[in-house]
Symmetry: C2
């Protein structure tokens, strides 16, 4: 796939991904930072192709390329249970049930990484996977976070529960997140922007979590809700360990 | 100005704003919800103009119109100190120091409303004001939140401090937000997406606040940072009152 954006390409280099080819804007005033990235790419013997704005837009299918793109192998997903088996602390997992908007998924990846989430699980169908647009919004942090894809979320939740992980679905009518003990093995499910968590997935959960509001309003944006809950969980987990 | 989006137009009706004219997509399969909004508009004697996609896009300068737009007077900003004078509880204020992206400002308005913020202060120059794009992302909550505009943020901060409000600037190296007593009169300053809070504004602050991360990373998206801090503040403020 062709990834784009300054941070994404730099993260791909840091993650030592195999970069097959790089595309850089043909411009006489590249930033110092961009020249440095170009030098690094050449040092790694990556063929670098200079091109006009229009061609770069065509190759990336985006206006957000920031003057640089790179061809890499498709995003490498993690294995759900191998990832969990490797952990030496209580798992901290996030499941997205058909979140659609690449900007939301990218922002969630960034927050999840920052909050110390061990694994993000995406459904194979009905939601956004790790696309170049998601990588762009995640500022490349998708390369550092373990992200797995599963065909049957309900079955995965069953298995997580068997392993002693408490699974909470985020809904409008759940227990306030700050009243939940989030220090142990835990997984949070966040649903689609319009429809929320699917009933089938909801029914498999151990409980429901919500964010109380000061004033009556519709739900927050999903990426905002995720951040509020994950960082509160991180705080609790840090306190429990200190 | 011409606002657009289903929620925004509905919120404008709820807020009893004077709607001069409405523009609705000329389509045979409008949703039930859209027909209801159209009926409400006609009931309020608003002239409704049906038009093709292309024309609606031209009028709104956006592809995100969702089939509906309305012409209203420019957004009515609040007065900073009159708003504070009216409060019967310790003020909870947010200041944005030149946040640029309308999506960020819109998302911040939504979170601020949900977390019970009393007043959002925007600088007159160098940042995004309440534009139709901001209204769209805020899902119309900008009509419910008091938002003021100030020419000189440094002077406003001085005045807030005189009134006993503790002013914290969000930076990468501040006190962890959860270790700050956020129950009293408080204001948080969040800076520009790239540059953060300006030095001049920073110097006026009483202290610095930051969000500790589980792993080394650049800062979170500003709208995410705002939500994490505001909802933690809301939790503390609720506990202090109960």
């Amino acid at each position: 796939m062709v990834i784009y954006g300054r941070n994404v390409v730099r993260e791909a280099i840091k993650a030592r991904l195999h970069i097959k080819r790089a595309y850089i804007l043909d411009s006489s005033n590249l930033s110092r930072e961009m020249k440095q990235t170009e030098n690094e790419l050449r040092h790694l013997r990556v063929p670098v192709e200079k091109m006009k704005e229009e061609k770069l837009k065509n190759i990336t299918h985006s206006k957000d390329h920031q003057g640089i793109a790179a061809k890499i192998n498709d995003y490498k997903y993690a294995d759900t249970f191998k990832t969990l088996d490797r952990l030496e602390h209580p798992p901290f997992v996030v499941i997205l049930d058909q979140v659609q908007d690449p900007h939301n998924v990218g922002a969630i990846i960034r927050s999840a990484y920052g909050a110390g989430v061990d694994l993000l699980i995406l459904p194979k169908r009905g939601g956004c996977l790790v696309t170049p647009a998601v990588l762009k919004t995640s500022a490349g942090y998708a390369f550092r976070l373990s992200i797995s894809v599963e065909t049957n979320l309900a079955r995965v939740i069953e298995e997580l529960k068997k392993r002693g992980i408490w699974v909470y679905a985020a809904t409008m009518k759940g227990k306030p997140y700050y009243d939940i003990d989030m220090t142990g093995p835990i997984a949070f499910i966040f649903g689609n922007e319009g429809k929320g968590v699917r009933r089938l997935v909801m029914e498999k959960s151990d409980g429901f979590v919500s964010i109380p509001m000061a004033k009556k309003m519709d739900s927050l944006n999903v990426s905002v809700s995720v951040a509020v809950i994950l960082f509160r969980a991180m705080e609790m987990r840090n306190n429990a360990n200190s």
